[in-house]
Symmetry: C2
């Protein structure tokens, strides 16, 4: 990974699922994310998810804090503001 900006972080569907999960509830550990994704049908190894979390952290979309031997994660949608500000979403242009 050269550099992990917001756009590249969102480019992977598994990372988007992880972000979905973290937006729903904070303080989730790596193993909990693994469990939820496995139950949801997304078979991903612990290492794979760990690397996805690293990308999300570098992009600023996820913050993590060490708690004992676990690491709890929480989502931060602030970096997404760059997207909406760069290209404001206009109303339907279809002239019906």
């Amino acid at each position: 990974m050269i550099v992990a900006d917001v756009y590249r972080a969102l480019a992977d569907p598994t990372r988007r699922r992880i972000l979905d999960l973290l937006v729903q509830r904070d303080g989730v550990t790596l193993f909990e994310i693994c469990s939820v994704l496995t139950e949801a049908g997304t078979e991903s190894s612990r290492q794979a998810i760990s690397q996805h979390l690293s990308v999300l952290e570098e992009s600023g979309l996820v913050h993590a804090t060490k708690v004992g031997r676990t690491k709890v994660h929480r989502a931060d949608t602030e970096p997404l503001r760059e997207i909406t500000e760069r290209w404001p979403v206009d109303r339907k242009e279809t002239q019906s």
Copy 2:
């Protein structure tokens, strides 16, 4: 290219520049995009930009219409709505 969704379309910096340009002004042809990007310091070949435009079109972020022997492009930010609706941007969480 397997499938070109909005997220993958935004993952490339050159495509983001093209989208910037098309948001600024509509009806731009491939050659005009090449000229503008070259002047802006982004050396990209015509073929490269053509393929980027294909990805942007497949994602729905850009629409194109054939006009004579040229093809004019215009941006459509509607697909970006999916992003903001999926992860609403919350205000700064820093409790100052």
